[in-house]
């Protein structure tokens, strides 16, 4: 009887997780809130979440609301932090330039069209980042081409024809709507399933 009581009293060993000093996340401009995932990440490092959100939203006031910004938060031992906000994410810039909302769903799907000139302009913006400060533009362009391939964006040398592009975008929009409808149907079927 006593052994059972002793077993109950015995507590589990709590393994303390030591979090790194650097936290890298993508936060939407003017939309930082204490809700997950940001709140718990900052809370685990002992930062005041409300103050951080207020400061971040103030810092990103010149950006349009909802633009995803790669953020580096360096937490110091005295629980102060350095906030470094980079230029918007590469995927967001490419999607905006191509005029698409979502990337490819299947392997060989083409979701948008861009020219190398578009990539050059995006590379110039990305070169302002601290991480890409001393990287030549040519190399950044190569990185962008790879990202385009993962998103399903077709890159070409010659300029885009507005008429062709409009036809392509209309056809693409119909396809996306069909995809979203299928997803919604699958979700509904899953919710209705009782067994």
């Amino acid at each position: 009887m006593a052994s059972k009581g002793a077993a109950r009293v015995r507590k589990k060993e709590i393994v303390k997780v030591v979090h790194g000093a650097l936290l890298r996340t993508n936060i939407k401009a003017q939309m930082a809130s204490a809700a997950p995932p940001l709140g718990p990440q900052l809370g685990q490092r002992g930062l005041n979440v409300a103050n951080f959100c207020k400061e971040f939203n103030k810092e990103t006031g010149h950006f349009k609301q909802g633009v995803p910004l790669p953020t580096r938060i360096t937490v110091k031992p005295d629980r102060t932090y350095d906030l470094e906000i980079c230029t918007p994410t590469t995927t967001w810039l490419l999607k905006q330039a191509a005029g698409i909302g979502r990337g490819k769903a299947s392997k060989d799907e083409i979701v948008g069209k861009l020219t190398v000139k578009h990539l050059y302009e995006i590379a110039k913006i990305k070169s302002r980042d601290k991480a890409l400060q001393h990287v030549p533009l040519e190399q950044i362009c190569r990185m962008l081409i790879k990202t385009c391939r993962t998103l399903g964006i077709d890159v070409q040398y010659h300029d885009l024809d507005p008429v062709e592009l409009k036809e392509f975008l209309v056809a693409r929009k119909e396809k996306v709507d069909a995809q979203l409808k299928d997803l919604a149907d699958k979700k509904a079927a899953k919710m209705l399933r009782t067994t």
Binding site: K28, K64, V67, G99, K117, E121, R142, P162
Partner: protein
Amino acid sequence: MLRSTLSTVSRTTSLIPRRLYAPPKAAAAAAGVKVDKSFVEEDAVKLATHVCINAYTQGDEPGPKILPDSEYPEWLFKLDLRAPRDLEDLDAEKDGWLYWRALRKRQVEQNQRIQKLKTKFLHLQNSPSMKKN
């Protein structure tokens, strides 16, 4: 006749259910939650003539304008836009380091596969059926 119609109207209006409570505060709740206002440009002419990447609140322009070819460096039009090729499609003399990198990648994959096969049948090595007669 008129009296009867009036009486029916009054009777019907009395049957209409009236809300005796405050309206739901949907608008107030929605105002507190910040809505994602980022949009995608759908004008094909703008997309073809500009790089629509203006992430800032100031400035009505969609982004930098696309200039003629002479304004851009030469290397831009020599970039390799092809998809990454398999080892079989590469040539050691023509493609150089691309070939050797692909070869090394293939070797690593093969080694990993062999290691998996080695450990897959470890549990059978002492079984009676595997013993030599």
